[in-house]
Amino acid sequence: MENILNKQIPQDTTTLKKTGGDVVNTDFEVRSLDTICVNESQKQHPWWYNLKYSLVGIIFGIVFVKAEVISWFRIQEMFRLQSFHMYGVIGTAVVVGMISVWLIKKFKVKTIYGEPIEFHPKKFNKGQIIGGITFGLGWALTGACPGPLFAQIGTGAFVVAVVVVSAIAGTWTYGYFRDRLPH
């Protein structure tokens, strides 16, 4: 079974885990395909350990609303170069993120459980351009990237749940046609 899975996995897989059993390796390869956002931790914890991520999410959600990042109007202004606001938000976030990652690498900061923090370089593929432009078209239509979609629902715009279902359908469609799309 593992061998079959291994053969099916395309060669553009960029992240390989050296530790752990074979089963874990195969799963991590599939799980980390076409994504930045991966759980690198090998630790097993009870479910309620995840509540700390909810707390981070709550802070994120409050910022989204209070800085109007989830506003369809702000996104329209951004793409019409009518306001600096969104460029300021994203630019500051990137600078703070860069400094943080640099510090984590430089001082080999560990997680609160003592695990080393891991980074895996990503490889270029055509999807980043074709998919990126496709995503941009959708971003300007809905006025929201995936994070703000959930925040918009939280503000009471319940119709956005339809957008989320549609986005899940889009992701599924990509998964279905993945092998036939240029990468």
Binding site: D34, V56, F60, A67, F79, M98, G147, T171
Partner: protein
């Protein structure tokens, strides 16, 4: 203090807090910041349909569902406890353009005239909500990440593919907002 928090927050405050989410998730548990992956985990959990792209242990990424659950709750708290009743201030040029399409309600984060269940059954609303959502889901996975994964996490880690993806996001957005959206909004 509370009154100040109710006002719209400036970009540098929001940007700094969003940037700090990157190290917060890394230090709390080796988690790489990203949201669109949730859409894929939802596929893996609910309709894997024997597609190998969805055949992985999604429970290992369950932290991300907790994360987006928090975003939803945080947004709810922001509009209940820290609500700012004033309408959103937008660039007069945008307001003038939108009024020609009959959009003049600035009481919510999203234009109520477009984002409602009634609007969903109009051609304009269907394109914006259903097609828009589809493009977001399809495009973000094809690109390997969205604004959070590529533009924030990827750029923070100085990844060139993420820079290419971010530039592509902006190109797509500029094309839609300036060239295509005016036609869609007239429907």
């Amino acid at each position: 203090m509370l009154e100040l928090l109710k006002e719209p927050w400036p970009w540098y405050v929001a940007g700094a807090i969003i940037g700090l989410i990157v190290p917060a998730l890394l230090i709390l548990g080796n988690k790489h910041f990203g949201i669109s992956a949730n859409l894929r985990h939802a596929c893996a959990a609910c309709f894997p349909a024997d597609i190998k792209f969805f055949k992985y242990d999604w429970k290992k990424e369950i932290w991300n569902f907790f994360f987006i659950g928090g975003i939803l709750v945080g947004a709810f708290l922001a509009v209940t406890l820290l609500n700012n009743p004033a309408p959103i201030q937008v660039n007069p040029k945008l307001a003038a353009e939108l009024s020609t399409y009959g959009i003049n309600d600035y009481s919510s984060m999203v234009p109520r005239q477009l984002f409602s269940f009634e609007s969903l059954f109009t051609i304009r609303g269907f394109i914006m909500l259903v097609l828009g959502g589809f493009l977001v889901g399809f495009g973000s996975r094809y690109a390997g990440g969205c604004t959070s994964g590529h533009a924030i996490m990827g750029l923070s880690d100085l990844q060139v593919p993420s820079l290419i993806a971010t530039i592509s996001f902006m190109i797509g957005g500029f094309i839609m907002a300036n060239l295509l959206l005016p036609f869609i909004l007239r429907l």
